[in-house]
């Protein structure tokens, strides 16, 4: 089959030329106001996801997950990453990302061990926004230990397991600097965002979508 090239007329493209409308600042201000109006439900959503994870861990038999359970762990952890990132719960965000790395690594290696997941879920319970936050040094210690777990299984994410600790100390610069290199390596800077060590995509509107700078 030869390639067909289409030039569809899309309504969104006309949005720029249509009269009226709003500026970027007006749109963002209104959106932020709307989002803040429902922010109270966020903590309950996080708690529900953590409870679902705890239920999954409790249902494990003989220390081994079924693959479908591990997929469910990944789904729930993904939800926590989203919500923790949205409301900037840094320790919970790091712990849930580490759980994603772990669950994904276990699935990729065909290892269905429950122990590394269980320890992450316990940590996430400690970081739950419904409870008093641990002292900063305790948080650092917990995240360091989680880093050791991922390092033991060699599930360290991009940037290394050290991101768990660095997240607490807000040392994000290195990750921001690394991210474009990885992006270009993986997908050629085509406007897609591969996984970054930190959730920077939402706060780097000037860099993404990509500029017209040659790769």
């Amino acid at each position: 089959m030869s390639a067909k090239v289409h030039f569809p007329a899309l309504l969104l493209h006309e949005a720029v030329a249509l009269g009226g409308g709003i500026t970027r600042e007006e749109a963002i201000e209104a959106a932020l106001k709307n989002v803040r109006a429902i922010s109270g439900e966020g903590d309950a959503s996080i708690e529900a996801a953590i409870q679902a994870l705890e239920t999954l861990v409790e249902s494990v038999a003989l220390g081994q997950f079924a693959a479908i359970q591990l997929h469910a762990v990944l789904e729930q952890a993904d939800q926590v990453v989203t919500m923790a990132g949205t409301f900037q719960y840094e320790a919970l965000d790091s712990a849930s990302r580490s759980l994603c790395d772990t669950a994904d690594g276990l699935l990729r290696q065909g290892r269905l061990e429950a122990a590394p997941v269980a320890v992450h879920v316990r940590a996430m319970r400690l970081f739950s926004p419904l409870y008093a936050a641990p002292a900063p040094e305790v948080s650092v210690h917990i995240l360091t230990e989680l880093g050791k777990v991922t390092a033991h299984y060699n599930f360290a994410p991009l940037g290394g397991a050290g991101h768990l600790v660095l997240a607490i100390f807000q040392c994000q610069r290195r990750f921001v600097a690394d991210a474009p290199t990885y992006r270009h390596k993986v997908v050629g800077g085509l406007g897609f965002e591969p996984r970054q060590a930190e959730s920077e995509s939402a706060v780097l509107p000037l860099d993404d979508p990509p500029t017209m700078t040659p790769v």
Partner: protein, 185 residues
């Protein structure tokens, strides 16, 4: 100088995400952009039903849905018979955005992949970028989606192909003299 304005009020947007709270967050942000027609659902099967019965101008699809992957839903949309619906602008959202997931979404024909959590700023900027960047759509057996080569700029240093690729030597498909020079050296 007056800031450029965008009128998004006529857009019909579909939001597909398994988390009801995140669907609400995204919908609230879209309402702030003055988008009035927002449909949201949890599963790909519900999305398919909406897509069969309605037209949409923008789809925000989570990468991992309960009943199928976001990439599979994107592929389904790109293979619909309805036009221009099958060329609808699609943004895939993911928290745990591994490179493999990003590649899968791109290969399925998504216009953009956006990492969660998505701030209203990032969401607006990406939508505005899609509005400003008209990309043709390529239809092949293996791929239906936006043209991936949309940069309207020359490669660096005037080299249009790899100078050392032997298959390129003497090729007539040379857009500048740079390659001919390198081939004869």
């Amino acid at each position: 100088m007056a800031q450029p304005r965008m009128n998004l009020s006529k857009l019909n947007v579909l939001v597909v995400d398994r988390n009801h709270y995140y669907r609400a967050l995204i919908s609230q942000a879209l309402r702030g952009f003055e988008i009035k027609h927002i449909t949201s659902c949890e599963t790909a099967s519900a999305a398919k039903e909406y897509l069969t019965n309605s037209d949409f101008d923008l789809c925000l699809i989570e990468a991992e849905l309960p009943d199928m992957s976001g990439a599979d839903l994107v592929r389904f949309i790109r293979r619909l018979k309805k036009e221009p619906l099958r060329f609808v602008l699609i943004i895939v959202l993911s928290s745990y955005a591994q490179a493999g997931m990003v590649s899968a979404a791109r290969d399925a024909g998504a216009n953009l992949v956006l990492k969660k959590p998505t701030s209203p700023q990032a969401l607006f900027d990406h939508i505005a970028w899609l509005a400003r960047t008209k990309r043709p759509y390529i239809e092949l057996d293996s791929y239906i989606g936006p043209d991936r080569k949309f940069h309207d700029i020359d490669p660096p240093d005037g080299h249009y192909k790899r100078a050392k690729d032997p298959s390129e030597a003497g090729s007539a498909n040379v857009r500048s003299g740079a390659l001919e020079e390198s081939a004869t050296q």
